[in-house]
């Protein structure tokens, strides 16, 4: 606990140096204006620093938000999103667009098979993600496949990135490269929820975001995986290339990849963050999301211990794209389910894992393998958590499938964990 409190204090001390520039250039719908991360004294931006461009037309903002969050949830005149629901859309791999307290939050920022037009297998574009005018972008893993578009969108929309200090640095580097800016002024706003150099599993960092009505918690973790089979469990192996949907290539022929060249140069490493968001206002609804899953049983037991200290989770969205499926099946992912102990689990990242292996639309098989893994590690109640599967590409951008009413009484159970880490 002391470590956690120390970490919060360190975070607060570092905030004035984190959130910089562009506050005055916030645009119609989006951009963060959270007082908790706005420095009391904002250093003047470098005269040479690129400035946030004009916002996309309001009609484009409304169209993007309507696509991601549903016509019934978006005001067609102002683009405002209803605040009483949490609405999420799967954009592919581990990237989601979320509407929380009426604000747009991206979880990662990358698109599989990205094209310039939304006519391919992935039905959205960088342009549309930008037009949604996110206020925040949570960085799970700063690497291709996860944050290719994060710096670009953050700059264009005035969004605040959240990640480790190293991830903030990587995103800043991306932005400067993309804007051809060689100066020293900050281009992006980025809140380092985890300070530089923190070991994995050291603590649960917490960051209140008033405009989201949320407490964001993060645990630094590793996605490294063991190469040997777990001798304590029944043998398991999963082949991502098996049983591909042979119709897929006819339904969704490969198109022209995006030509804008936007990407990330973040160096590959094993660091990623597990995020936990508790919504405020007395609604007590919580989401856990992580875009990578490592072998924490052997390599980072401290991460598992920290996961178990998190407050209760209602909806858990977690990557099943583990690093050792041929020797341990989806065991590593199952351990996250066990540690988080949520009410609902959404599989994530299975589309990217399958496509890397040359297979398509295999989510049903992934679900079954995950169920096997859950049984192997002792999760014997088939209804806990309830598995909800998004099938690619059919469930990309189906906001109604991931709409939650935080006020619903059913989220509260006597067995819920109590928070051991205050946000304040």
């Amino acid at each position: 606990m002391k470590n956690q409190h120390d970490n919060v204090r360190r975070l607060r001390r570092s905030l004035p140096g984190m959130a910089l520039v562009a506050a005055a250039a916030l645009v119609a719908c989006g951009g963060s204006n959270d007082a908790a991360i706005t420095p009391p004294v904002t250093p003047p931006p470098s005269p040479a620093a690129p400035v946030t461009p004009a916002a996309p037309a309001l009609s484009a903002q409304i169209a993007a938000r309507t696509h991601y969050f549903g016509l019934e949830n978006v005001d067609q005149k102002s683009g405002e999103i209803r605040k009483d629901l949490v609405v999420m859309s799967w954009l592919s791999n581990t990237t989601y667009a979320a509407a929380i307290n009426g604000k747009v939050v991206l979880l990662d920022a990358s698109l599989l098979r990205r094209q310039d037009l939304p006519e391919g297998r992935t039905p959205t574009t960088l342009e549309e993600m930008t037009a949604a005018m996110p206020s925040y972008i949570l960085v799970g893993k700063a690497a291709p496949g996860y944050t290719d578009l994060a710096a670009h969108i953050a700059f264009k929309a005035g969004a605040t990135l959240i990640g480790t200090q190293e991830q903030c640095d990587a995103m800043e580097t991306d932005a400067k490269r993309q804007q051809a800016y060689a100066g020293t002024a900050q281009v992006l706003k980025c809140s380092a929820i985890v300070p530089r150099g923190q070991p994995e599993g050291r603590s649960v960092s917490a960051l209140p975001l008033a405009d989201l009505g949320a407490c964001v918690r993060a645990i630094k973790q590793t996605d490294a995986s063991v190469a040997n089979a777990d001798p304590s469990l029944p043998p398991a192996a999963f082949d991502w290339s098996a049983d591909s949907d042979l119709r897929d290539i006819a339904f969704w022929p490969p198109g022209q990849s995006a030509t804008d060249g936007v990407g990330t140069s973040a160096a590959a490493n094993t660091t990623s963050l597990v995020y936990h968001l508790t919504l405020g206002g007395g609604r007590n609804f919580a989401i856990t999301w992580h875009d990578r899953s490592g072998s924490f049983k052997e390599l980072a037991p401290a991460v598992a211990a920290q996961l178990r200290t998190l407050p209760k989770t209602d909806v858990h969205i977690g990557s099943v794209d583990v690093g050792n499926p041929t020797v341990n099946g989806l065991r590593d992912a199952a351990y996250y389910l066990q540690a988080v102990d949520s009410k609902i689990f959404f599989l994530s990242g299975q589309d990217a894992a399958a496509q890397r292996a040359g297979a398509y639309n295999t989510s049903e098989l992934v679900k079954r393998e995950l169920q096997n893994a859950m049984a192997h590690i002792g999760m014997t109640d088939p209804a806990s958590p309830e598995l909800r599967v998004n099938f690619d590409p059919y469930d990309y951008i189906k906001p109604h499938y991931m709409t939650f009413d935080p006020a619903a009484p059913a989220w509260q159970r006597a067995s819920d964990r109590i928070s051991s880490t205050a946000c304040e």
């Binding site: 019934e72 119709r247 339904f251 049903e364 599967v389 499938y401 939650f404 989220w411």
Partner: protein, 414 residues
């Protein structure tokens, strides 16, 4: 609405008084002697089972775990195969049709493709069951579920007659079907009954007799767009799902009278938005065979969410032209397809072909002249993955999306 159309309307004030064929609530007991062997009897297993069934069909977050009550401020529906849906609307629990395709006994480790069955429908404890038409792939379980739960069935008078036959055959000569006729015997195609009182104050009800599916020659006024039942099927289906004998082969419907007599139901939430949803469980080629439906459906009260059969005998010849014509005339804001799963698999197709059928529907809507701006949001359902997936079919009736200003009116419930 013309005078002729008005004449078709059956003003139900008087009709409603005599419409209840039998109102005797005759909940079956375990001791009742079934007249046909293999007929399950007895009511819902327990309150716990009812809660579990409702959580399955409507999402645990929408169900009171102590009472089984479902939140009243949403329309929540679950597709249970073919044209059968479990519905929670304004707190009322009911079913559209009552048939489970491939309700089979599948031995583990093979997996059952259909994630529900007859007993779960009983445990759901519906208050009402609406019969779209009388064929057994829509009504096989209706009489059984209704008798065992006390649910009231609704249909044309002919359907009520058939349900009484089913009830007698399954539960004995003294068993009475609780069925309310929404249309009198012999009502012609195009007959409507508006603002029926049976569901008030929770919901308002409109009905229209429409046309059962049929094959017609190719419509040469529009581009060819036929689709074979095997088109788009998933070759992995047989590997993914097990099969087995029918769980309840003797629970079926005689299917007549009223086999192809088809009724569309239209429900409205009371309130300023007049949010409405409707369902037709067979899709007829009324352009050729019943053109009198065109003005009737074109003048029908506004429909926000329309569930409609999209597959039938006319699919190979005319694709999804017929459901597109229903959409053209009813002008829903959201369209949800049904029946394509059973329709394909009954004919030997592997199924799970939603993507191709969705594309055919989109093309068909263009062909029949629906401007892009007026085309509804299509929430296509892919079998079997979208069975019992209520999040896909949850609607907030209070949303501004359903505002009727400047559009077709829904005077129902006013």
């Amino acid at each position: 609405m013309t005078k002729t159309e008005n004449a078709r309307i059956i003003h139900l004030a008087a009709f409603a008084r005599r419409a209840t064929v039998a109102a005797t609530v005759a909940l079956a007991g375990a001791s009742l002697q079934a007249q046909t062997t293999g007929i399950p009897t007895g009511g819902p297993t327990s309150l716990e089972a009812t809660v579990k069934a409702r959580q399955h069909f409507f999402g645990f977050e929408n169900v009171d775990a102590a009472t089984g009550a479902v939140r009243a401020d949403r329309l929540i529906m679950s597709w249970l195969t073919t044209t059968t849906f479990a519905v929670a609307a304004n707190g009322k629990i009911f079913m559209l049709d009552g048939y489970i395709n491939e309700d089979q006994v599948v031995a583990p480790p093979a997996r059952k493709r259909t994630p529900t069955g007859l007993q779960e429908l009983v445990d759901l404890k519906p208050e009402w069951i609406f019969i779209g038409h009388g064929h057994s792939d829509h009504t096989a379980y209706v009489a059984n579920v209704a008798y065992r739960t006390g649910a009231t069935m609704f249909g044309a008078a002919e359907h009520c007659t058939a349900m009484q036959t089913d009830t007698t055959r399954q539960f004995g000569a003294g068993a009475t079907a609780k069925c309310t006729a929404v249309l009198p015997a012999g009502a012609p195609i195009g007959a409507t009954a508006l603002d029926l009182p049976f569901l008030k104050p929770a919901l308002c009800l409109n009905v229209v007799r429409h046309l059962h599916g049929a094959a017609t020659p190719r419509d040469t006024s529009i581009p060819a767009n036929g689709i074979e039942f095997t088109a788009g099927e998933d070759p992995r289906e047989a590997k993914l799902w097990g099969t087995g004998p029918a769980a309840f082969p003797n629970v079926r419907s005689v299917g007549s009278p009223g086999g192809d007599l088809s009724v569309m139901y239209h429900f409205t939430f009371p309130g300023s938005r007049a949010f409405s949803f409707a369902s037709f469980d067979t899709v007829g080629p009324y352009k050729e065979l019943a053109p009198q439906l065109i003005p009737v459906l074109s003048a029908f009260p506004a429909t926000d969410v329309l569930i409609g059969a999209v597959s039938g005998a006319n699919s190979p010849t005319n694709g999804l032209r017929d459901p597109a014509i229903y959409i053209r005339d009813l002008q829903p804001r959201v369209f949800i397809p049904s029946h394509h799963d059973e329709s394909q698999r009954r004919r030997g197709a592997k199924g799970s072909a939603g993507e191709l059928w969705k594309r055919n529907l989109l093309t068909s809507m263009n062909h029949v002249g629906i401007d892009q701006a007026r085309q509804p949001e299509v929430r296509f359902l892919n079998d079997p993955y979208d069975y019992a997936r209520p999040s896909l079919l949850t609607f907030d009736p209070s949303s501004a999306r359903w505002d009727k200003t400047g559009g077709r009116a829904n005077p129902t419930c006013n």
